[in-house]
Subunit: 338 residues, 2 copies
């Protein structure tokens, strides 16, 4: 491998695969370590019976948002929401506090920064979490906002990406493909109609599914869990890889919202072309032992079964009208060559 | 006040003063809250007898560093070191783990990113802290790197900014003014001589004073504590404001390193003109009851007494050759109008 490879050629996922095994965990801390990097959140055993769950996520102007279609208030909300989604993706986690870092140019209007914090505050109040600290610094031109969210959980309640077994069912709860359609709407400058609201809301004001996540526990047969922020395809592939398995999706089982269906018709596209690569959706994707599915589904009727885990040799495939399609590419990644 | 004020006109400190009282702490969390935003780090009571201490700090290309004078490896080291300095600025804190966020353009060399993580890893190994998570995202052009560091402490051992009493002595431990001189050297493009190493090291590879901080505890008479990252002047003013006091510095007592003295001579400047506004120095500034100073000083001989706290009405002043100078302006702030 050449010395001069660039990040865009390796990709975020490719680079992380190389990085993760080399990250440092001192032996003195290993008893503390419950979950290290590589999952939606990390977990540190602080006291017997409770772990601290921590995650960090960043939104960058020009990559994740543009001011022309994302208000500072929505940005503040979304920054916290996407971090809370990472806590939800670990199962029954109680969010506690947030640290926020804001980097923006000196000519930013004070009102914009105030509105950003109002959006953050609204989301913090909704989930009863407090501000523990932060950093506000200048930048040379664009906004970069970053948050670290801390929560607590019982160590036996946490659900990682790698616990699925062959035969487990794959289920999803929450919106899929909506944010991608919403992005297309705001980028196209199309006139916004009331029926588009769910698509734009999915993009600009996503809701973390912490309430639903309260039902997802190992004792209810849930074996692995991830959020769909990288897209359905990438998320299912990550669950499969981490569990050492393959996956088979039933495309006809994937829920398509009315707004997405309507937008896809206008664009003359199959709604699945929004859902499968997706990205920026904060649905939860999980696997559950098939015998536990009926009981879990009775508690969480909005969850939909969309496939099952299969032995590794089968790879990750999707069944569509009797045809088997391979899921080859990660759907959503930064550092694409521009 | 106009609606269209810009951040550069208000300044980072001015804005934070307005923001902090409005940050949200839900009543459900108040029993958990030990220290909220506005100090070097926040602290959350997780279990009786122990608090989680958390802090976050960001380094932005074009504001805090330029690639031409800061290698990726030094940047990784410094990112962790400045966060650890914030833990040291809370007293006897044991660092545990770090979450890292990196935003950089897709054409970044993979080697640069690897070197950044090697710098981080070296500092993490030195202080035996582990990687708990992170986020790696694209950017439109410049690097923004951010870390959140978690540590633990006994709640009674933490030292805030606001605990000083009139008559307490002000002391400093660690380098002052060196990073400012180092910045001048790297920006001027001056040929680097071996004797300049301490100045450039202070800028590019600062050392967090966690070991010294182990001696700074309320039981040893330490009443307030801050790091000097905003400069000596701003840091002393923050201690004073938070404690509702004034301060009187003895400029002749302030330690001047040989390297700084030599560089200042070359530039025909008073070394104090580097030290007093300063910035990016990771010294610790603390106040101590005068009766406890001799014992503390015998344990920490490298600490220097540089002044004392006085009643608020006296303001913040410095004595120099018998003259009294007012300390009016914060030394180091982002968002200066450019």
């Amino acid at each position: 491998m050449g010395k001069s490879r660039r990040l865009s050629a390796v990709g975020e996922f490719g680079w992380l695969k190389k990085l993760l095994p080399r990250l440092y965990w001192p032996s003195a801390l290993r008893p503390h370590l419950c979950i290290g990097p590589g999952d939606d959140a990390g977990a540190l055993r602080i006291t017997p019976g409770r772990v601290l769950v921590a995650t960090t996520d960043t939104l960058v102007e020009g990559i994740h948002f543009e001011h022309k279609w994302m208000s500072p208030r929505d940005l503040g909300h979304k920054l916290l929401a996407v971090n809370l989604s990472d806590l939800a993706a670990m199962g029954r986690v109680k969010p506690l506090a947030v640290l926020v870092t804001v980097s923006m140019p000196g000519d930013t209007l004070v009102d914009s920064l105030n509105n950003f914090y109002q959006g953050l505050r609204g989301c913090a109040q909704r989930w009863k979490i407090g501000f523990l600290g932060g950093d506000t610094v200048g930048s040379r031109g664009s906004w970069t906002v970053s948050a670290t969210v801390l929560g607590e959980a019982h160590p036996n309640e946490l659900i990682q990406r790698g616990g699925a077994k062959a035969g487990d069912l794959i289920a999803v709860i929450g919106p899929l493909g909506l944010a991608t359609a919403g992005l297309e709407i705001v980028q196209s400058g199309a006139r916004r109609a009331p029926w588009m609201a769910p698509l734009i809301t999915a993009l600009c004001r996503p809701q973390p599914l912490l309430d639903s996540a309260q039902y997802l526990s190992p004792s209810r047969g849930v074996t692995s869990l991830i959020d769909a922020s990288d897209g359905l395809e990438a998320s299912v592939k990550l669950l499969s890889e981490c569990s050492g398995l393959g996956a088979e999706l039933q495309l006809s089982h994937i829920p398509v919202s009315r707004a997405l269906d309507r937008w896809a018709r206008i664009r003359k596209r199959n709604p699945l072309s929004y859902i499968v690569p997706g990205g920026e959706d904060y649905a939860l994707i999980f696997t559950v032992r098939s015998k536990d599915w009926p009981m879990l589904h009775s508690r969480l009727p909005q969850a939909k079964m969309i496939g099952r885990m299969v032995p590794k040799g089968h790879g990750c495939t999707a069944l569509s009208n009797g045809q088997r399609i391979s899921l080859k590419n990660y759907g959503y990644a930064h550092f694409h060559a521009s």
